[in-house]
């Protein structure tokens, strides 16, 4: 095997915070996802939200499809706000979104980037949940040396 199966992805730069690239993910076969053009009309699913572990931010994840499909790529909209004031939260150096199945010790087989939107939100394209069951969206920020996570559960059912 000449080259590693791991593809350390260079993801699209972010528009919020100082806009750096999220950290590369876990080992495994990882494919590159490019941000595709959004469909003209989107059906938005229920907005899911969670406060981060340290209370620094509130993450709202809105699937741009309803329901979330199994084994098909979909997109989400992500907004981060100050939980006290409701104003946009931008006090971070990096932000990333991932989806994992904690019971199975794996995540998606791909990394996704976040693209800033005109309304101040971020958009992630190409998420793909390849199994039914309990998944969790992880919204992680890094500010300097510190990491903080907001975690949102979703269940993909038959």
């Amino acid at each position: 095997m000449r080259n590693s199966l791991v593809t350390m992805l260079a993801l699209s730069a972010l528009g919020c915070g100082s806009g750096e690239v999220p950290a590369a993910g876990d080992a495994g076969v990882t494919e590159r996802i490019s941000a595709g053009s959004a469909p003209a009309e989107e059906t938005r699913g229920e907005t899911l939200e969670a406060r981060s572990s340290g209370g620094a931010f509130l993450a709202r994840v809105t699937p741009l499809v309803d329901p979330i499909p199994m084994n098909e790529a979909f997109s989400v909209s992500l907004t981060l706000t100050d939980p006290e004031t409701g104003t946009p939260f931008t006090d971070y150096d990096e932000v990333s979104i991932d989806a994992r199945m904690p019971a199975h010790k794996h995540g998606m087989l791909r990394d996704v980037g976040l693209t800033p939107q005109d309304d101040g939100s971020m958009r992630a394209d190409g998420l793909l949940l390849h199994m039914y069951g309990h998944w969790e969206f992880h919204v992680d920020i890094r500010k300097g040396a510190r990491f903080e996570r907001a975690q949102i559960s979703v269940r993909l059912q038959y």
């Binding site: 095997m1 590693s4 791991v6 572990s53 040396a145």
Partner: protein, 667 residues
């Protein structure tokens, strides 16, 4: 222990083939040199009239065998009977903790010492050793290789403490740095022939489980492989050697050697050999954590050092371009993990580090024996994943978990949804990761984390302490993960050398901090390990264990008693605080073996609130639970073959569960 050096000459496993009789390969088992005191590095080179002598660096075992380099005459002519004999010993009195070894074409021996943080050159003429690296040039050196001579000589040293390799040219003690932006914990290094004939450097990284190749000017040529058990994948690659046009990699945690092509096919797997030793002490080609590899200059012998089994196995050539795999023993999955270096408990729940599976294991103690109820996290670099977990701390209620990950240089805080009022049950989703900190970034320098503990948890004065192998100090963080200071030796005590375990202790109504100085052995084999006790202000109160501890690893305390594991002597030493605060040695137990109360590389140790003492018997794939008051074994847990010798002695005493206290310390 291990004072007798014995050479076992096992039957040749495959016919030896002379050169020129068609394709052949290295990898046929030949013989074993046993009885070595923790051999950590091997090399071939000229010694007196032997062109291909075998040099073995040993770390010593705490009695009459100080760290040294032993030299063996090895018969490499396949036409002659297999043989090896001890023909010399070097470096005793100079070395304290050798880590890497190479021999130049003139017979000069280059050896790294991780306690002294330097590179020694032992002249072929027997002259006095000289430091080949300037002070401060190496942070925590490991593998080394040499090529050429005189002004053209190149010496390369892997420095996992700095996350780089250091290239010394023409005898200069000031090196150039290579790979700082790519390497994390490089352990093995060797020179290879590049595709165009130019000399290149190959490095194995134990944190990323990858091999990287660089030009001498530092340009990155290629990185290949990743973590896994399948052919061409690696787990904890510890060393590598270039011979036969191939890169032979000691694939330590997969218990095998993998040979990769060089040149135009660089990184492609040529073949592999070795199977995981299942039975305790199994050898004759079965491998157990091969840590170092070397090939003789004539390409006839390959040596593998296995420090956990105190042996070096020798392999020769066999017909064919690659070995015929024994399907009955082919490795088809990852071997069972050892219990790792650290343990913490809440009373009902115990957290252990499993570095080979890159997880923290949570056990429930309410059953007949500890039952694993969850594996926390998986391998990766994202926040919430671990590369190489090395230490853990569990709060008194079992809801809060801290994990230190040396591969990512990160401290992660998680919450566990334990349910002590409900029956024992496994929960794969037990943990949620909350937040964390990049320890290198917060310290502002390379940081090699080791152990962790917490004082005054769940209070405004909570103090998180993480040891740093790169600087032999302890970083203190507040509840907000902000650095607030460091602990280190003072002028009177001298520095900590080889920082290891850490634990709170009590001194009257105050809480103190015990920090293990893993010390090593002096020139005569005298023990140099000790334990520092720091007071609440961060000042050194005292040290203890001098003259007793050789390579102490972990420490734990309960009331006025303190226990320390010693990796070199395979013992647990017990200390007691005397009126006035002094700490005295009052005994201990252990010794190498599989029986009750015997150990093989004991690591983590934990004194529980109910009086039990748990010792992680790392090399024996098990944990042992003792009643320390009566020196009786209560139970064992872990690998079946390794538990069997305990059963006749173990008297199980059901855990007396009680309401979890609040605000108490986890370990």
């Amino acid at each position: 222990m291990l004072a007798t050096l014995a050479l076992l000459l096992a039957p040749t496993a495959a016919p030896q083939q002379a050169a020129g009789e068609g394709p052949s390969h290295l990898g046929a088992y030949v013989s074993t040199v046993s009885g070595l005191a923790r051999p950590v590095a091997v090399a071939f080179g000229p010694h007196r009239d032997r062109p291909h002598a075998l040099f073995v660096a040993t770390r010593g075992a705490g009695d009459t065998s100080p760290p040294a380099i032993q030299v063996f005459g090895v018969e490499t002519n396949p036409e002659r009977p297999v043989g090896a004999s001890l023909i010399g010993s070097l470096g005793a009195g100079w070395l304290e903790r050798p880590a890497g070894l190479a021999v130049s074409s003139e017979g000069d021996v280059l050896v790294t010492d991780e306690l002294q943080r330097t590179l020694w050159r032992l002249p072929a003429d027997g002259g006095e050793p000289t430091a080949a690296a300037a002070p401060g040039a190496l942070t925590l050196p490991a593998g080394v290789d040499v090529t050429g001579s005189g002004e053209e000589q190149l010496v390369i040293v892997a420095d996992p403490g700095a996350g780089a390799v250091r290239l010394f040219r023409g005898g200069s003690p000031s090196p150039e740095s290579i790979g700082e932006e790519i390497l994390v914990r490089p352990r093995g290094v060797c020179f290879i022939d590049g595709a165009d004939g130019a000399v290149q450097v190959a490095v194995c990284d134990t944190a990323t489980h990858r091999i990287h190749v660089f030009e001498l000017d530092g340009a990155h040529v290629l990185g290949f492989s990743q973590l896994g058990p399948h052919p061409s994948l690696l787990s904890g690659p510890a060393d590598l050697e270039f011979a036969d046009g191939k890169l032979f990699v000691a694939d330590r945690e997969n218990h095998r050697v993998q040979a990769f092509h060089s040149g135009a096919a660089l990184g492609e797997l040529a073949y592999r050999f070795g199977v995981h030793a299942i039975r305790p002490g199994e050898g004759a080609g079965a491998l157990h954590y091969p840590a170092a590899v070397a090939v003789s200059g004539d390409g006839q012998r390959l040596a593998l050092a296995e420090p956990m089994d105190d042996r070096v196995q020798l392999f020769g050539r066999a017909p064919g371009a690659e070995p015929v795999e024994d399907q009955s023993r082919a490795a088809i999955g990852p071997p069972a993990a050892h219990f790792g270096p650290d343990i913490s408990s809440s009373g009902i729940y115990v957290a252990t580090v499993s570095p080979e599976s890159h997880q923290i294991q949570i056990h429930d103690l309410r059953g007949k024996e500890p039952a694993k109820i969850s594996d926390v996290a998986s391998f990766g670099t994202r926040f919430g994943m671990y590369r190489t977990p090395c230490a853990t701390w569990l709060s008194s209620g079992g809801q809060a978990l801290l994990t230190v990950d040396e591969g990512n240089s990160r401290l992660t805080r998680s919450t566990l949804r334990v349910k002590p009022q409900e029956p024992l049950n496994a929960d794969p989703e037990l943990a949620r990761h909350l937040d964390g900190v990049d320890l290198s970034a917060v310290a502002g320098r390379p940081f090699w984390p080791g152990a962790v503990t917490v004082l005054a948890p769940d209070t405004a004065n909570e103090l998180i302490l993480v040891t740093d192998r790169a600087t032999d100090s302890v970083l203190m963080l507040d509840r907000g993960l902000e650095p607030i200071g460091t602990l280190a030796g003072d002028e009177e005590t001298g520095p900590i050398r080889g920082v290891a375990g850490i634990s709170p202790a009590t001194l009257g109504v105050a809480t103190t901090i015990l920090v293990v100085d893993s010390g090593g052995q002096g020139s005569g084999g005298e023990p140099r390990g000790r334990v520092f006790e720091f007071g609440p202000s961060g000042a050194v109160l005292r040290t203890f264990g001098e003259g007793i501890l050789v390579e102490p690893d972990s420490v734990t305390s309960r009331e006025n008693r303190i226990w320390v594991t010693d990796r070199a002597t395979d013992r647990v030493e017990r200390f007691e605080r005397q009126p006035g605060g002094a700490i005295e040695h009052v005994g201990g137990f252990g010794g190498r073996g599989l029986g009750p109360g015997e150990f093989h590389d004991p690591r983590g140790i934990l004194a529980m609130d109910d009086g039990r003492l748990i010792v992680l018997d790392h090399g024996n794939h098990r944990g042992q639970i003792f009643d320390p008051d009566h020196l009786t074994l209560i139970a064992g847990f872990g690998g079946r073959l390794y538990i069997e010798p305990l059963k006749s002695a173990a008297t199980w005493v059901p855990l007396q569960t009680k309401p979890e206290p609040t605000g108490a310390q986890g370990r």
